[in-house]
Symmetry: C2
Subunit: 339 residues, 2 copies
Amino acid sequence: MAAVNLKQLAKILDLSISTVSKALRDSHEIGDATKLRVLAKAKEMDYTPNPFASGLRRNKSKTIAVVVPEVANNYFALAINGIERIAQENDYHVLIYLTHEDIEKEKGIMKHLENKRVDGVLMSVTMNTNNQTHLSDFQQKGIPIVFFDRICHEIETAKITTDDYISGINATKHLIENECKDIAFLSLGDDISIMQKRKSGYLEELLKNNMEVKRERIIKCGNDEEINYNLVKKLLSGKNKPDGIFASVEKLAITTYQVCRELNINIPNDIKIICFSNLETASLLSPSLSTITQPAYNIGKTAAEVMFKYLDKNKTYIPNENIVLQSTLHIRESSQHIV
Amino acid sequence: MAAVNLKQLAKILDLSISTVSKALRDSHEIGDATKLRVLAKAKEMDYTPNPFASGLRRNKSKTIAVVVPEVANNYFALAINGIERIAQENDYHVLIYLTHEDIEKEKGIMKHLENKRVDGVLMSVTMNTNNQTHLSDFQQKGIPIVFFDRICHEIETAKITTDDYISGINATKHLIENECKDIAFLSLGDDISIMQKRKSGYLEELLKNNMEVKRERIIKCGNDEEINYNLVKKLLSGKNKPDGIFASVEKLAITTYQVCRELNINIPNDIKIICFSNLETASLLSPSLSTITQPAYNIGKTAAEVMFKYLDKNKTYIPNENIVLQSTLHIRESSQHIV
DNA sequence: ACTATTTACGCAAACGATGTAGTAATATTA
DNA sequence: TAATATTACTACATCGTTTGCGTAAATAGT
């Protein structure tokens, strides 16, 4: 029942605690015969070191934290998948924390992690993280952070993103090529970098095509589904509605689908839609949804790999580095002009 | 940079370490004036107790583990959401482990958790967990397990499930009411209890309606997408195909949709489909997908609540208890007979 | 053969927090 | 007033590992 510890092992083997400990860690100080004897007995007695004792002594937790806005989201779920994979390979444990897009919760979580519970943090900030003092404070404590997707430029560290700007351009270009004359952009807040980049791409492409940039075509959505629904409904109600929608995140495209259904707006005849999404069922929607799909799994995997690259070397300082992975455009029915 | 500890705090306050420790834990042994002084200084110096030291001393990790087959799955993602919520409320941390339906990985993870890294484990077993010795061994170490959804009957503890048997009956009944004469059941393995229950409901309802139970209509799918695809394709190819599909899990319904698309089979005209699913976009699919939706968030929440009920009392033994939450039937186009 | 070096192990001090037992000083009671 | 109880604190052992240092014995070097 109670876990066996070094002391008991040592007594049975008639060795000192330190000898057993060193033998288990394969120290050169211990003779081969003794090592084998210890190893065998340890296995037999099912010894596993107490993580708290060794964590305390070595100041290493063998644990990383993942801080994300949500998990019931295909993008983050896939990223976590990638992270967990690499963590298991490195014999690390993964703590998960959800901010639910609440900056205060994010601050609280970081505060909680300041003691050396984790060796590093992989994070995607909330849509409202426009101030990064809680993050730089955290870094000051000597725990490295690696950002993925929703990064924080001001913090010096590694950042894994996708080519949001280019994707923003491509998505917009695609809509224009499919005869859209009046494209709206559905943003999720406007504090975070990915939104700014996606929007920049959108704006850039509009300008390039001499299309008017209208303030009211940029809809700032948020975390409240109902408010978003009403914002989109307002956008699509009445005569003066756009003929193209570029949704910056999956859920806003879903909302748009629902609104269109309610208002009897036909996609893609009346309005065309494209969005950033990792939805597995995009091709099964009615109509099938055109997406810019991010390599979510690889983003998570890469973030974890970068983290371990430094943790392995016992480096708590990670220099600035921008790793950009490519998203892929999946053109489906929702954005195509029917000739 | 380095975290401040009790010793430093004590020195600055000119008190002993134990006084400071007790003051922070609001012990009755310490005077009110001193308590306030300590609290103020601790806050000022941003003191947070070292989790390893206190974990070691108190033999409490303030951490629970969640062991699930996958996270990129709406059901588990929502359940994790519920779990995380309750954990945060209880000031607990959540470790996450993915088995990817691999029983060996599950065993390895449990082995890893046997040292007192966590105070409890919430888990949904893999589809291949037909042997529970690694779980009973784990329990023997004095760490409680609570199962949710994919439970293990043989282990004595609390189990949170949904009314799978009734839902199986209801789903099948619904298909029969919609003129299905030949219903296939897509199973995910057949080791785990939810599959057995869902299948029992299916079989029961067939019998009740004097419908023939054919062995070849029960398709045992697995973890490999490609194999599943081919199994479903084979089922739906040729003349002698079923006119109804009851998919035990979401992904098998998605596969069926894809196969139908490839084979040009019309849903619901040629074949009707219903499945267990927490897919947000079920209503936006083409055709919209009829589902039995489990209260995933609440299942996770309940599992966590039960766990904390015992952890709070420092009980490591959780007696058998079956908590059954109700799923809801959402009838949409995919299963409806068009008159 | 006598000193250096290596080998193989044990001792004991950390790591930081907790809690029991002990101790002065003050307060309460008979 | 003396015995007892209470208050407010401190000292110290403890949790299980790790690791620097010490040390005997064995080996090597000259």
